[in-house]
Each structure stands twice: as structure tokens, then as C-alpha cells.
């Protein structure tokens, strides 16, 4: 690269503040857009608690919850994706691609439909995410997260989970199944306030832990021997990282369903912007939050009053990009 790279942390700080600005703009736009149009000034006033009761109701009670839920989900999925990419040293190894989100959905649907264990959706989604991850690793053999097997095993697990979800939905009354449908393809409209709170707590915890182990995570990009020489406890870091990405994925899915491509796209964007050599955790989280907020905004305004689930929007936007990564004649480091 010929460009002069600014001092390391300056560049990342710049990128982070840019992404933060983007997130604030998309959040405000999303808050002010809807069937009832509210001006930006009124939106801000409502957020500060100084608007008339109607505007206050629309912004703070109808839209804010949804936008915050989207923001949290996007950030959690993006962090999980970035983390898993780092652990697997494979930019395709994200929860969306290896089927963790589908498995979490299947478990959460089971709890909603009332088959088998009826724990809260958050707990069930977590259990699903953990099961899928364990399976993907177990089936990929002793080679851990490395290589293609992990990903193909994940595709298989995702397919099984999706089929099971379909079976469960075919066993309930058709009107119920139709009502549950948007959530099974990823949507913010049916979020459960309890699950959102759990997600917020999990995300805060996860983010703090990640910040604490950033240095160790950064060394994972090197060969194992180098990382060990640099003082990283490889196994512990991997297990902790994997546990966190399962936690974040499961909690996010319990709120928004399988919007898996966020976990690939947001880290991609963050990596493209940030200084190479470090893992852009914060940037990924900010980018993921913006992405999901915008996808949700598009989904509810494109065919208003009908809503297109955010998962469908993100698949339509994200799949072509993923295809482009995969089909480029000379891919960047795939493994």
C-alpha cells in the first residue's frame, strides 16, 4: 500500500467514529421514518423527552424498542462473525454460513410452538447455537475450526435445522404457522422484550470480555507457534472466543431470527476499512448494528404497510456480495 498509514490507533479511531456516525444517522432515520412521518428535530426532541405526547409515544414506545433491538442484534451477530472468522482463520466461517443461526432458530421455534423442552426462547436459541457449533466441530474432526470441512459440515447442519423448523411449523395450525413465518426468515417484528434485555446484558458482557482478550485474539492471526511464543494461551483463548460467539449468536437469534449474513458482511466491511493486523471488533459491531437497522428500515418501508422481514432484505443484499467473494478468480485468503 502506497498510502501513508496514519498512526495505528488513530486510523482505527477514525474508522470507529465514522461508523459510529453512520450508525447514529441510520438510527435517527429509522426512528423518524414510518407510517407517521416525524421530522428529525422532533425525533431528537422526543429522545430528549421534550416532544408532545403523540410524538413521544411513536418514537419512544413504538420505534425505539424495535430500533434498539435491531441495533443490538446486528452488533451481536457481527461480533460473533468477526470472532469466529478469527478463530477459524477463515473469513467464510461465520455463524450464518455454518448454520448456527438456523439451529438456534429451530430450537427457539420448538419453544414457541411448544414441542419438547419449553424453556424461554433465549435459552432454547442458545442451546441450539451450542449444539450446532459442537456438531460442526465434532464432525469436522480433530482439525478444529480450520479448513473447509467445518464449513461444509455447517451447511449440512443448517439444512437439517431448517428442515426441522419446517416440520414443526407444519404441525401447528396454519394461521399460527403463517404468523410465525416472518420470524423464521429473520424479522424484528415479533421480538420478545425479555429476550431483548437478555441480549443487551449478554452483548455488554461479551464486549467487555472481548476487549480484555483483544491482545490474545490478535496473536491468533499468526501461526500457532508464533502465538504461543507471544505468550497466548491458545486453547483457553479459542474456547473462550468460541463460547462467546455461540452466546452472542444464540441471544441475537432469539430476538431477530436467522439474519445470518450480517455476521459475514459487517466484519468484511470493518476489515476493509480498518488497519490490517488487528481484529476490528468494535468496527464490526458498529457496522453490523447499522446494517441491521438499515435492513429493517428498508423492509418496513419498501412495501408499506406490508413488511418484508429484515432477513429477506439482508439475504437479497448480502448474497450477491458473498457470491462475488466466492466467484472472484483470485480470492483473497480463503483459509
Amino acid at each position: 500500500m502506497n498510502r501513508i498509514i496514519p498512526l495505528p490507533d488513530k486510523r482505527n479511531a477514525l474508522v470507529n467514529s465514522l461508523l459510529l456516525a453512520l450508525l447514529m444517522i441510520s438510527t435517527l432515520t429509522s426512528l423518524s421514518t414510518g407510517t407517521v412521518q416525524v421530522s428529525l428535530a422532533d425525533t431528537l426532541a422526543a429522545l430528549l423527552g421534550q416532544a408532545d405526547p403523540m410524538t413521544d409515544f411513536v418514537i419512544n414506545e413504538l420505534r425505539l424498542n424495535r430500533v434498539v433491538a435491531g441495533l443490538l442484534c446486528g452488533a451481536a451477530l457481527a461480533l460473533a462473525g468477526c470472532l469466529m472468522q478469527t478463530l477459524a482463520r477463515n473469513r467464510l466461517a461465520t455463524p450464518g454460513i455454518i448454520g448456527i443461526d438456523n439451529a438456534a432458530t429451530a430450537f427457539a421455534v420448538a419453544s414457541v410452538v411448544g414441542i419438547g423442552l419449553s424453556l424461554a426462547p433465549s435459552a432454547m436459541a442458545l442451546a441450539g447455537a451450542a449444539t450446532a457449533t459442537a456438531l460442526a466441530f465434532g464432525l469436522a474432526g480433530a482439525k478444529g475450526t480450520r479448513g473447509y470441512r467445518f464449513i461444509v459440515a455447517g451447511i449440512g447442519i443448517g439444512a437439517i435445522a431448517a428442515a426441522i423448523t419446517q416440520v414443526m411449523l407444519s404441525r401447528v395450525a396454519i394461521d399460527d404457522a403463517n404468523a410465525a413465518y416472518p420470524w423464521t426468515v429473520g424479522s424484528l417484528n415479533a421480538r420478545n422484550p425479555e429476550s431483548v434485555k437478555v441480549l443487551a446484558a449478554g452483548l455488554a458482557l461479551g464486549y467487555l470480555v472481548l476487549m480484555a482478550i483483544t491482545r490474545a485474539l490478535n496473536t491468533l492471526q499468526f501461526a500457532d507457534a508464533v502465538a504461543i511464543a507471544l505468550g497466548t494461551r491458545l486453547k483457553a483463548t479459542r474456547i473462550l472466543g468460541l463460547g462467546l460467539s455461540v452466546l452472542l449468536t444464540g441471544l441475537a437469534v432469539s430476538v431477530c431470527g436467522p439474519v445470518g449474513l450480517v455476521s459475514l458482511l459487517a466484519p468484511e466491511l470493518a476489515r476493509a476499512l480498518s488497519r490490517p493486523g488487528k481484529i476490528p471488533l468494535t468496527a464490526s459491531a458498529l457496522a453490523g448494528a447499522s446494517f441491521l437497522v438499515v435492513a429493517d428500515l428498508l423492509g418496513r418501508s419498501l412495501f408499506s404497510p406490508l413488511e418484508v422481514p429484515a432477513g429477506i432484505i439482508s439475504a437479497i443484499v448480502g448474497s450477491p456480495y458473498l457470491l462475488w467473494i466466492l466467484l472472484r478468480p483470485t480470492p483473497r485468503s480463503l483459509t
Partner: protein, 319 residues
Amino acid sequence: MSRPATVALNVLQRCFTILVLAGLSSGAVTADTRSLDTAFGPLEISGQPKRIVTLYEGALDTALAVGAHTVGAVITRGGNHVADYIKPAAGNINIVGTPGETNIEAVLAAQPDLILAAPRTSEQQYRLLSRLAPVVVPDIPMFEADTWKRETRLFARAMGRADQAEQVIEQVEARIAEVASLVRERIPADQRNATLIRWMPQGPLVMAEGLFSAAIIQATGFRPNSKGLIKPGRPHSEPLSLENLSGLDQNWMFLATLNADGDKALAAARKSPAFARLNAVQANQVIAVSGQLWTSASGPLAALAILDDIEAAVLALQP
């Protein structure tokens, strides 16, 4: 006209309007400040609401039947707008969502002074909606013969139109009696067994005996029977294998699809050999009906429309 004169006239006009309104509403208030039992506790409503949003097929039907002014409704299940039978009465009504999902902002924009909601409205949804206007969520057992009457009365009382509701219900009962006597006259007592089926691409669904339209069928003298294929509390069975169709064979079959109109449903079903060999089909006693009316709707207007369908079918029999 000079400026002071205009102002004076305006003031006069306003006073007059206020007087008239006060006269109207005071009459209504003294006549009826009522407490309703809803799924989320008792609800006090006074006066006669002028801007009603209905989030349930049965509520829209009742509102239109008693002549209330509706400013918003949800689409009927399986369609892109309200059901055809109610379109003439509803006109180009403002749509505020689907039965599964209400667009609360659209409800807000409609500025309702009363919201009539579906029996299964969630508490979360209820709390948001009740910030906009009083919300009536029926607490009436579903799938019983008189469910629709109790819902109609509840909604009508909320709208301050209980008298109109009684009139409409009487009208429906008179029609039931009319059609029932026609049925008695034309169809022997031992040949009135009937099935109500919704023909889905996945396979036929049997609708529950307690379903609204099944209750109307029963009131006219037919005997709907779902052969125990429905789990308790469900409005219909799962899509059945075609191999089970012959087990549902009865004297009469009312056949609907959720989407297309009845004739298309019949055409689709007739292509299936399992359907063609049913006794009801061979005796030409299959009545093709609209699924939106027969399996999604409820309320007095729906009852009248269903009774028209039954009457037409019985009249078409060769005496």
C-alpha cells in the same frame, strides 16, 4: 363582509356546533355509560365512538352491521384486502395491517376513539394499543355455537349500539329460521350430514364443528361432523392425506379454499380422483363457497351471506 362580522359569525357557528354535539352526546351518555368485560379486565366506555378501528374480521363485520363509522381494518386472512362479501359495505377502507400483525402507527394515523381487537391479542400489543384509544379484546370462549352472538353484543355495546346489534341478530335469526324451514322441506332428516372442508394445495383441511360457519350450518338443520380429526382447541385439522378423504364422506360437503373463490376450489378438487368418487360429489351435493367468508369471517353480515349461500344451494336441488 367585515372582519369583526366574520369573527362573530364564526363564534356563533362554533357555539351552535358545540350545542348540537353536546345534545347528541349527552343523550348517549345518559343512555349508556357502560362497563365491558374484556380479556384484560373491565373497561369503561361512554358515548358513541365515531372513529373505530377493527383489528379482527368479526369486529369489522359487527361495526358495519350496526352502522358504526370505521376508519381502519386489517385484511382478511388469505387475501390482500377485506373479504369480498364485506367489500360493498366497507368500501375502500383504510388497511392498518394483517391479522397476524398490526401496524400500530397506521392505527395511530387513523386517530381512532375505539379499537376492537381479536380474541388472541397479546398483552404487549394490548398495552401499546390502549395508549391510543380504549381497546376491546373479547374474553369469550372460541369455537362455540353462540360465540359470534356474544362477540357481536360485546363489540356493539362498546360502540354504543347495543339496540342495533339486537335488531341485526334478530334479523339473522329470522333468516336462519327461513333457511331452516327450507332445509326441512327439501332435505330428508337422515340426509343432512355435512362436512366443511378447506381445500389446500397440501391436502384437505376439515374445519371444526364449533367454527362460525359450521355453527350457522348446524342452525339451519345440517349436521356438520369433523370425524374426530381435529385436536381440541384447533379451528381445523392438519392437511390430511388424500387417502383419508373417503372417511370424511357425508351427504353434503361445503368446500372452500382460503384463496381463490369457491368455483376455483371446486375445479381444483375435481381433478383429484379421490375427490371425484365421494358420494357427496356423485350426488352433486358439493357446495363451493368462498373460504374468506366461510373459514375466516364471522359476525352478522357474514352469517347473512353464508345463509344466502346455503339457501341458493338448497334451492338449486331438484324438488
